[in-house]
Amino acid sequence: MSTRKLVFSLGMGIVYPILGIVQILGGIVPGLAVSLNVLFIPADIIQGFVLCLIGAVFLYGAAEIHQNRPGAEAFLYVGMLLSLIFCVITLIDLGAQGANAVLFGGDGGSSWPLTQVIIPIIYMAVPSVIGSYAWGRKFFSDLTEA
């Protein structure tokens, strides 16, 4: 059992769902959204669900790693992969909104406020990048070679 992987999975498995639940609550409870915006947490139910899901994958992995089950690390790798995928999707979304606004004056504003960019689904990918570099190099290189 790798203690570092366990601690990492557990940490991500706790923080992701907390942020996810807060985002979901922001989308449900009227008035909470404004307070959350100050904390750089958007009120977005679906994105909150995605954060909870990524957290669940990590948490599942933590339990499997703790029990030393075969294939337990799969949850860690896939958790990091999902974290990166959704970060990239959100960045593309923001980038396209920005491009659309600049080129055609479409919805998305003329600038990128920090509250749109520094959001959990993006900054939570940072530990995943570090984790991928530390443990997932073979996993990710296998994927890209397939």
């Binding site: 679906i46 294939g71 799969a74 896939v78 999902l82 593309i92 979304d93 055609f104 996993f139």
Partner: protein, 666 residues
């Protein structure tokens, strides 16, 4: 009174089959020969509780092809005598090698139970097979046994008795990929023309055997009336290549399942195995699929937004030039309102359609969609649908017409009918422009989420309808799920682009031909009788809208929306084209979105009700025609149309009454 069942023991040679047979039957056995051959036949009896079990020991075989007498005897017994259960005894120390026979037994369509024999020796070697995972992946209950000590044998018999009494029973089978599956489907159609053959042999199994060049089955069909049709179909196929491809598919599936069912059997998990470990997880598989689909829609709209803006910009500029430079006025109106307002507006949504198809093609080519089908199968079965229905439902996200045609691969008539009837609830690409427009105008900050919910709502309605149909008008048991597990791979750009173009061009053709024609009709109805203001209440279109509008008034739809919905029956994209014409987008150089937003009779709630109505109501004219063609029945076609209309009306009405609590009223 005692129950009586018959069990056959099947397995590779030297897996401890005879030991288990002897332990189970003790002295109550009979030894003879199988009819016509000198292969020893052993049968005996065992009693468990109130059940008397006849146990037949089949000859040990590595496969069920007709290459040896043992194989012919084993498979003929299973097919002709139809035992209540076949216990497949596998050597747990050599698990992977035994699974090839498992895949062939699965194709025979008999209830199976797996005995993981010699489990003690396997565990000493560090090999641990997870019986619940065997059940999960193969849909075969598995029991660990040690035949030499009689361990697990009572549980094995009890499981077999339970399996014999389980009805309906879900089954998994091997999927051989689109091309071979199409050949199988064609052969099944040919085979079904001879009821004697299909009464004797399972049609799918027979089709597979024919593709694998089984001489015994080829002899059987020689005197059948289906012979000519089968020969014609087989003549189109390179049987040597097909046989090899089919064996590859079986090994591919075994290779994909091995690390999941027995992680200690493999040296190390590949990246593909690791992803499968999570993506096919019982609890996480479906949420991950849903999240990725949401991500796909987010990406679609993100990428498409600048392109859509560019097209709209160009259309507006063209509209201005037409109005300024073309005379007489009616011709300018025709070009601006009829052509640019109708077709032009729809073209603005082409980027969304193409990008969504590209992302779906990437997911398909990466191998992920096969896993999605696998995880969805559990859900599908629980609602009374065969796993095979998943693929037509998925294609339905592109266009319902090919999706309904794709149900041809579903052999069972009731399964097929249910899949056809629920397919129009899958949100086809044609509905996307309507979603994009209304969600963008009335829910600018959560358009992606609204659209995602519409897609989910379509799935939910399809599921509930399937359950309802299965419980009422089309009762029965779904057919087995065809499993395919190609390894994950990075899709090549060219393949994905070709897939995107194939599906997207279908939309373009519809946009170019059908919508053009309808836009002209709408323009005509909106311009006549002579002298009325374009699209006014006095025009024919206004009169038509006013006649029907009272019916949809409880849903909050004005007469323009009503007219657009009527024309939407031709093709759902036309809703936008018609609105473009009715709101005079071209003439006034005002974006349709702004016109809708400025319309005081429309609100966020009305928009949501309209979106729900568009999602559910009458499939387009082309879909209706295909439903008629594929079901061969006007009764089911009319039922499909009316059912959709009633559900759409009720759902939209529910939105009108419930949505104000969530989105702040009208």
């Amino acid at each position: 009174m005692k129950n009586r069942i018959r069990i056959a023991l099947a397995g590779n040679p030297n897996v401890g089959k005879s030991t288990i047979f002897n332990t189970l039957t003790g002295s109550r056995q009979h030894v003879g020969n199988w009819p016509g051959v000198t292969v020893e036949k052993k049968s005996g009896f065992a009693t468990v509780g109130n059940t008397e079990i006849e146990i037949v020991d089949l000859p040990g075989t590595y496969s069920l092809t007709a290459y040896s007498v043992d194989e012919v005897v084993a498979r003929d017994y299973i097919i002709e005598e139809r035992p209540d259960v076949v216990i497949h005894i596998v050597d747990a120390t050599n698990f992977e090698r035994n699974l090839y026979l498992t895949t062939q037994l699965m194709e025979l369509g008999v209830p199976l139970v797996m005995a993981l024999n010699m489990s003690d020796e396997a565990e000493k070697k560090g090999v641990t097979i997870n019986p619940s995972r065997v059940k999960e992946y193969f849909e075969i209950p598995a029991v660990k046994t040690v035949g030499s000590r009689g361990e697990g044998l009572n549980e094995l018999l009890r499981t077999a008795i339970a399996e014999a009494g389980t009805s309906p029973h879900h089954e998994h089978s091997i999927g051989y990929g689109n091309e071979i599956e199409q050949h199988i489907a064609n052969l099944i159609i040919a085979l079904k023309t001879d009821p004697v053959l299909t009464a004797h042999y399972p049609p799918r199994w027979m089709a597979i055997r024919l593709l694998e060049g089984d001489e015994k089955i080829s002899d059987e069909i020689r005197s059948s009336p289906a012979f000519d049709a089968i020969t014609r179909e087989l003549a189109k196929i390179d049987l040597t290549l097909t046989e090899a491809a089919m064996a590859d598919r079986r090994y591919e599936l075994i290779a994909a399942f091995m690390p999941q069912v027995c992680p200690t059997c493999v040296r190390g998990m590949s990246a593909s195995d690791l992803i499968d470990h999570v993506a096919t997880n019982r609890y996480l598989g479906i949420p991950i699929f849903l999240a990725l689909m949401w991500g796909a829609f987010q990406l679609t709209f993100a990428f498409a937004a600048p392109f859509t803006s560019a097209i709209n910009f160009a259309m507006n500029a063209l509209g201005s030039a037409v109005t300024a430079g073309i005379r007489p006025e009616w011709l300018a109106s025709f070009i601006n309102n009829g052509i640019i307002g109708g077709v032009g507006t729809v073209l603005g949504f082409v980027p969304n359609i193409f990008i969504l198809f590209l992302i779906l093609a990437i997911l398909e080519d990466s191998g992920y969609l096969a896993r999605a089908a696998f995880v969805m199968d559990r859900l599908m079965y629980s609602i009374g649908l065969p796993g095979k229905s998943f693929i037509p439902m998925l294609i339905g996200f592109g266009c319902n017409v090919p999706a309904i045609m794709a149900t041809r691969t579903i052999e069972d008539r009731k399964d097929r009918l249910i899949t056809i009837l629920i397919n129009p609830f899958m949100s086809c690409g044609a509905r996307l422009p309507v979603y994009v427009l209304f969600a963008g105008v009335f829910f600018p900050h959560s358009a992606g989420t609204v659209i995602f919910f519409l897609y989910v709502l379509g799935i939910v309605i399809a599921i509930l309808s399937a359950k309802l149909f299965r419980l009422t008008i089309l009762p029965g048991k779904p057919a087995p799920f065809l499993m395919e597990m190609p390894p994950y791979r990075f899709p090549t750009g060219r393949t994905s682009l070709v897939h995107m173009w194939d599906r997207g061009s279908m939309y373009l053709q519809k946009a170019g031909l059908v919508i053009f024609g309808i836009a002209i009709i709408v323009w005509g109805l909106a311009s006549l009788p002579l002298g009325v203001a374009y699209g006014s209440e006095g025009s024919y279109v206004g009169i038509l809208g006013h006649v029907i509008q009272p019916v949809v008034a409880p849903l909050g739809f004005n007469w323009k929306i009503t007219v657009a919905l009527i024309f939407g029956f031709m093709a759902k994209e036309v809703v936008i084209g018609s609105l473009g014409v009715l709101y005079g987008v071209g003439e006034n150089h005002v974006a349709l979105g702004s016109a809708l937003h400025a319309d005081p009779t429309l609100s966020a709630v009305t928009a949501l009700a309209l979106l729900v109505f568009v999602l559910i109501y009458v499939p387009c004219m082309s879909s209706v025609a295909v439903i008629k063609k594929e079901t061969g029945s006007w009764k089911w076609t009319v039922f499909s149309v009316l059912y959709g209309l009633v559900i759409a009306y009720l759902a939209a009405l529910a939105v009108v009454h419930i949505a104000p609590f969530f989105i702040g009223g009208a």
